[in-house]
Amino acid sequence: MSVSDKDPSQQKPVVELKGVEKRFGTFTALQRMDLTIREGEFFTLLGPSGCGKTTTLRLIAGFELPSDGQILIAGQDVSQVPAHLRPVHTVFQNYALFPHMSVLENVAFPLTVRRIGKAQRLERVRAALDLVQMGAFAGRKPSQLSGGQQQRVALARALVNEPRVLLLDEPLGALDLKLRKEMQAELKAMQRRLGITFVFVTHDQEEALSMSDRIALMKGGEIVQLDTPTGLYDRPVNAYVADFIGETNMIPARVIETDAETALVEAMGTRLRVSGTQGAAAGSDVQLAIRPERVCEDMAELENTAEGILADVEFIGTDLRMTYRMPDGSRVVMRRQNSGRAVPQPGETRRLGFRQDDLRLFSR
């Protein structure tokens, strides 16, 4: 194809969902979803189980047909096209390797059903197996492989036919932590190298943040926020996003006054100035959110401070996680790098600083 030499950052849509709705009986799994996935990006559908992320993937793959709306792949309307005629391949959570076929036959399957000649087939299978470093295992049966190896074979099988889009349904879910980290890095590197669009489904926010170009965070069959990993982490649109992605302190607060750029709120027994009002009116009850690693102990140039009693110190290797009890009874968790300095003792009263840009307001 002529697109292969183009820059992947060029924002050309490869998968488009237009007002797609999916109902199972009376249950609506997906509510009027509009989504555009761009050529060559690593796109992640993130959310808790039952949020509709897997349904979205199955709709793109063609295992489910939409109750309403349109699905376009590479500009073609495939809404009613069955799975086997769509230019997408899937890597399944349980790998779904064919147990009666060898690794070689498994990887050759997409080529065999397309009646590609034996010589070319073998050559492409070899290349795909080498890509995932499984060349030495071609003669084995899937039952003779470990989980990680089966995963690699499943990946080779999905890539051998060079799909426009690769769909990955929680592919790392069954692997242990160490292997999982390895595969994350490898998948990401592979995606960069091949330039194939990856649509990745996971419930693991850390995995999503570390691998994706863009993430759609879903809840109850809808996209709550679609953004880059940094956007999702630093500029969550609501309390749900802030809570789902990473750790967040949620502190009850009341808005005292607002001006064009900032709001003054009362929280933790003091008054704090916050950048952005998020549409909150004076007098309303809100939640004040701040990430534990953005709470400062260094008071220099800080406009907002509050005093708290150190209630608990948790030592987690690279970091110290300290819980403060504030004068109004709320708790604030602070994270600081383990710099080797003395560990503070519980019971100490300390002054904490909050940069106004790090504070966010959410309606309660």
């Binding site: 295992f63 009666h100 997409p110 059903v113």
Partner: protein, 275 residues
């Protein structure tokens, strides 16, 4: 005395503890002893099946030179293979349809295919005979095979159905996802995984047909006397070790088939069903 004082009721405990084992052993003896006696007297030199007079192969020689028995055996083999092929084909197709597809009346079809299992075979046989004479069919191979298919079809269906329902439906999704159409998915993914079960269904159907007496009584015609029917009519003329010898040969054949099936396909089935 001291031992008993230490553990009162030791005898009863031992009996209770050992009971399941003893009962199992006795049950097996009860089931297998007649076979042992039958096979032993197949080698008897005399004409009696109760008094041992010496060792001889003469009854085996008599069996293999008895034209009636050989004819009956040929009929039985033809009917067994034909009816097993038909009922395995129908059973496997139905099993795949019932477990892998959804269509109206699916549950009814599933129940209907298992019905001959619980209906008394003799009623089934009488009904079939009446239907056949109503349809004007002459009793012979065709009627015999139809009857045997009716008897073995529930077993064939159940076996393939069990295997089909333990298949991972995600494998069919995967095949479709990778570009296989429905026919390719069936022939390349679904069917190969069912082969061991289909083979087992075939062997079981053939065995059921080979042993069948009730259905054969009603559906066989002139010149299509099956082996069980022949044995039954021989018994009417008196019991000789010739029947013992024939019985011994049949046991040998059955055990051989069983061992063949188990040795070749059991490990394969276990492997396929492992996740």
């Amino acid at each position: 005395m001291t031992a008993r004082a230490k553990a009162p009721g030791w005898f009863l405990r031992r009996v209770v503890h050992g009971a399941p084992g003893w009962i199992t052993l006795l049950t097996y003896l009860f089931m297998l002893l007649p076979f042992a006696v039958l096979i032993t007297f197949a080698f008897n030199a005399g004409k009696s099946t109760v008094v041992w007079t010496g060792f001889s192969f003469r009854w085996f020689e008599k069996v293999v030179s008895n034209g009636n028995i050989l004819d009956a055996m040929q009929v039985s083999l033809i009917v067994a293979v034909a009816s097993a092929a038909v009922s395995t084909a129908i059973g496997a197709t139905a099993a795949v349809a019932i477990t892998r597809r959804s269509f109206p009346g699916r549950d009814v079809l599933g129940a209907a295919l298992a019905a001959p299992l619980v209906l008394p075979e003799i009623v089934l046989a009488v009904a079939l005979l009446m239907f056949m004479s109503f349809a004007g069919m002459t009793l012979g191979y065709t009627t015999l095979i139809i009857g045997h298919v009716l008897v073995s079809i529930p077993f064939a269906t159940l076996i393939v159905r069990a295997a089909a329902s333990s298949l991972d439906p995600r494998l069919e999704d995967a095949a479709a996802d990778l570009g296989a159409n429905e026919w390719q998915t069936f022939t390349m993914v679904t069917l190969p995984q069912l082969i061991p079960a289909i083979f087992t269904a075939f062997i079981l159907s053939a065995t059921l047909s080979f042993d069948n007496l009730v259905m054969s009584t009603f559906t066989s015609g002139v010149g299509t006397t099956t082996l069980p029917l022949r044995i039954y009519s021989m018994l009417k003329l008196g019991i000789t070790p010739e029947i013992n010898a024939l019985g011994a040969l049949m046991v040998l054949a059955n055990v051989t088939i069983l061992l063949l099936v188990m040795g070749r396909y059991l490990p394969l089935m276990l492997k396929t069903n492992r996740r």
